[in-house]
């Protein structure tokens, strides 16, 4: 199994387990599961990851409702200066222009929209490994993918 450690933040346990167990059985990478941003924050402070797939949570209400991107900011803060940024894919209910602009600023590799399928997540994780060879990383590919 490649020595790749991937962080998967997803509240739905069955999807999370299916992705992590299948990644292990196919010898792809070691997927570390977190059900919430809070749990993921603690994991990020304890070890380094080679990539992340993150379901972004909505916080606030009414006109103050927004996506919580604090985990992405935490991961980006840990990127080596001048180096290739860690590949990060986002799971979101919908892609609003505001969200996409915020994600673009944070150099997100891919946006995956509902319904989330384990195969799409696994293909994304597999792409993290392939992208590490010879990629400058300064210009992320078109991230939009449902």
């Amino acid at each position: 199994m490649p020595d790749m450690h991937i962080l998967l933040v997803e509240p739905e346990a069955l999807l999370r387990r299916t992705v992590s167990m299948t990644a292990r059985s196919l010898g792809m990478s070691q997927v570390h599961e977190a059900a919430t941003t809070g749990v993921a924050m603690r994991m990020v402070r304890q070890r380094r990851f080679n990539g992340a797939v993150i379901a972004v949570e909505c916080v606030g209400s009414g006109t103050e409702r927004r996506y919580d991107l604090s985990l992405i900011d935490e991961l980006r803060a840990a990127d080596a200066p001048g180096g290739r940024p860690m590949p990060i894919a986002i799971l979101a209910d919908q892609a609003t222009p505001t969200l996409l602009a915020e994600l673009r600023d944070r150099r997100i590799s891919r946006v995956i929209l509902k319904p989330f399928r384990a195969k799409v997540l696994l293909e994304t994780i597999a792409g993290f490994g392939g992208g590490s060879k010879g990629s400058g990383g300064d210009t992320p590919p078109n991230p939009f993918k449902s």
């Binding site: 387990r17 299916t18 167990m21 299948t22 319904p115 399928r117 384990a118 195969k119 696994l122 293909e123």
Partner: protein
């Protein structure tokens, strides 16, 4: 139509199945959510958790059919439990074992079948988690991996059932 041969360990297999005390029990969310997840993941109309009793296959969880059991003689799953790996039939009409099977020619219209045997720690295969489509198709390596994982999750739930049944009274 070919009727599947009876496994060599049939008596032991049936003893293990009956010991679970799961046959003819009501639907349970822990199994239902797995078949619902599989139906969406693989985009198939029918997903079943089948348990192979002596004369019938009984469905512990099902999506896409109201039938709760069929005769074992026409069961595709009774073929699937004969091998340790996932049995994939890309097109039943092209397979002489199944082309004239009533499940293929009748209302269920089984054209594609993939069955992952529910193998317990003992090695006994009690049934399958199976996908059914009304059109020919196949599964790639990653999809086979995902089906294998979902099968493993069903087996974990069956093992929990076994642990509960064997627990001493408090």
């Amino acid at each position: 139509m070919q009727v599947a041969p009876t496994p060599d360990n049939e008596a032991e297999r049936l003893t293990a199945l009956h010991a679970l005390l799961i046959l003819d029990t009501p639907p349970e969310q822990r199994f239902d959510k797995i078949v619902q997840f599989a139906a969406t993941e693989f985009d198939v109309p029918v997903v079943l958790i089948t348990l192979l009793d002596a004369e019938r296959q009984w469905f512990k969880a099902r999506v896409g059919t109201d039938v709760c059991e069929t005769g074992r003689d026409i069961s595709l799953c009774s073929h699937a439990i004969l091998q340790p790996g996932i049995m994939v039939v890309p097109d039943t009409l092209e397979d002489p074992r199944f082309a004239d099977n009533p499940l293929v020619t009748g209302d269920l219209k089984v054209r594609f079948y993939a069955g992952a045997p529910l193998a317990m720690a003992s090695g006994l295969r009690l049934g399958t988690l199976c996908l059914i489509d009304h059109r020919p198709r196949t599964l790639d390596a990653m999809e086979l991996g995902i089906l294998g994982t979902l099968r493993d999750l069903v087996v974990m739930e069956l093992n929990q059932q076994s642990a509960v049944d064997e627990a001493p009274d408090a």
